[in-house]
Amino acid sequence: MMPASALESPLLRVEDITVRFGAVQALTEVSVDVHRGEIVAIIGPNGAGKTTLLNVISGFYHPRSGRIFFQGRDRTQLKPFDVAALGIARTFQNVALFKGMSVLDNIMTGRLLKMRGSFLLDAVYWGPARRQELAHRAAVERVIDFLEIQAIRKTPAGRLPYGLQKRVELARALAAEPQLLLLDEPMAGMNVEEKEDMSRFILDLHDEFGTTIVLIEHDMSVVMDISDRVVVLDYGRKIADGPPEIVRKDQVVMDAYLGVAHG
């Protein structure tokens, strides 16, 4: 569904971002706006800079030039954990779960930002520290129920099959109740059935919590089904940005994908 507030100031504004690793020019002057409640898909051939853009938004890389505004405030130079505190959560291309912890603990780590309290009280696990821990456990149980992973609640994350690990990672990101959710290829390496489940979960969470979602995806049918807007990157440049049906027929995009020789 198109967000009603297309005109209102965007939740996230990425302005002329350039990122360089030594000689490699990963991103050149990329500008993207994401409005509240929108699902934006970032597509493009391998090495187009999709993950780099996501890393810049989540504060993991700092751009050489250009600025990023979140809810209207400039936060270009923020450290990753400050960016997370603003309400931006993400999943990773090749699953970054905490292997040594159980699924429940992994998801509870997603709520760290919401936990306050003095460490001394934690030491005796009494009073506010205990109440807070139990309240957050209840919130995490809602997410577990929503993503239907009750059965694997106490299994160590390292032992799970690939598809479930992806879902636990989504649960961890959701547990932080983000305003902006960055999904880095949530369906990579999944079979058809798992893809259907994951798309349903993404749409459900978008309905249920109204979270704004930016996702990187290769599967065109999935992109067409679930995204309101599509941004196409190629060799670090933005070559298209608009509703899926239009972008799909855009000649420049087809060239990028079908491999027309570049100058």
Partner: protein, 358 residues
């Protein structure tokens, strides 16, 4: 076999997240702790208390501290000996300066001092990782030992360069100094280590423990999720050093009676690191199992030759002890790299499922 879990259902998150959710575990642990408090002081011989149980508890506390840092937060440290030295010397100075202060308070304050020192030596962990950090903590080890050797102020200008535990009482009972009985010193040690184990368990299962383990498993992902690496790592160093500081103070006040820097050299750091690795990284129980293993094996090795009737010259015995000790460590790392705690965990799992395999 022993476990009967039918009917143990949870109606609240508090009971689900208790330290020992299964009734049989709770009963077993409570009995064990109660026995640990009552049986040894009454029944154990002076030798067993002084040479086995008290060192075991003191080393267990140090192992617990190191396990928090290396097992849970993933920061390898070879500076345990140095930090224990800081604990011992500051306890000595504090108790000398304030004789009327309660000895437990002295221990805790020496722990705080060590925590500050640990904090300082934890700063490199922000920029360097893994072996580089381990070697950096060696700097702390050597510097601290050199400091206590070189600066007479620390030993109150005593000619012999050693610090001796003054006579202190707790609730009217002398617990440190020459007249303190082994039983009293044992009770203080067991009391402290039980409380500290509980505190460690609470820290580890809560917010703090999770951020440590996040940093240990995938520090980049942890940072992006909102874990502040600096605050988490330094907290780990501080708490771990606090534990090692108190353990150091106990080493002098409750175990050796007097000590000089040689008692806190690099070998002690390796010893405690063994306990954590053999016992099991990332497990509070593992620290105790590791300490027990490292304390009991040498005693076992020294006594066995007498029992089977072939007395060995002392030098040869020392060498064999070293060889067997080294071989045992390698054997253990091969059989169960995750340590005794994992061995116990696997056996417990089998008991809970008996007679089914899965």
């Amino acid at each position: 076999m022993i476990y009967r879990e039918t009917g143990q259902f949870k109606t609240s998150y508090a009971s689900d997240q208790a330290i020992f959710p299964i009734a049989q575990d709770r009963i077993f642990v409570l009995l064990a702790v109660a026995a640990a408090f009552v049986v040894p002081p009454l029944m154990a011989s002076q030798y067993w208390l002084q040479a086995v149980l008290i060192p075991l508890l003191v080393y267990a506390l140090a192992a617990l501290g190191l396990n928090l840092l290396t097992g849970y937060a993933g920061q390898v440290s070879l500076g345990t000996g140095g930090f224990m030295a800081v604990g011992a010397y500051s306890a000595f100075k504090l108790s000398m300066a304030f004789p009327q202060v309660n000895v437990i308070l002295v221990f805790l304050m020496s722990g705080v001092v060590t925590a500050l020192v640990g904090l300082v030596f934890g700063i490199p962990s922000l920029r360097i990782k893994g072996f580089y950090l381990a070697v950096a903590t060696l700097a702390a080890q050597f510097f601290l030992i050199w400091l206590f050797n070189k600066v007479p102020w620390f030993v109150n200008y005593s000619s012999s360069g050693t610090i001796t535990a003054p006579t202190r009482t707790l609730f009217g009972v002398t617990v440190s100094g020459p007249q303190a009985t082994a039983g009293a010193r044992y009770l203080v040690a067991i009391g402290l280590v039980t409380i500290f184990a509980l505190v460690a368990k609470n820290l580890v299962r809560g917010r703090v423990g999770r951020s440590w383990m996040a940093i240990r498993d995938r520090d980049i992902a942890a940072e992006i999720i909102g874990v502040r690496p600096m605050r988490t790592k330094l907290l780990a160093f501080a708490i771990s050093s606090f534990y090692c500081g108190v353990a150091g103070a106990e080493l002098v006040f409750l175990y050796l009676g007097s000590a000089e820097t040689l008692a806190f050299d690099i070998n002690l750091s390796f010893l405690v690191l063994f306990m954590v690795i053999i016992g099991g990284l990332g497990s509070v129980l593992g620290s105790f199992l590791g300490a027990a293993f490292i304390v009991l094996v040498p005693i076992f090795l020294t006594n066995v030759p007498h029992l089977i009737g072939l007395p060995l010259p002392v030098a040869l015995q020392k060498q064999i002890e070293l060889m067997v000790f080294g071989a045992l460590i390698i054997f253990f790392l091969i059989v169960e790299p995750n340590g005794l705690a994992r061995l116990w965990q696997v056996t417990k799992e089998k008991l809970r499922l008996w007679p089914f395999p899965h």
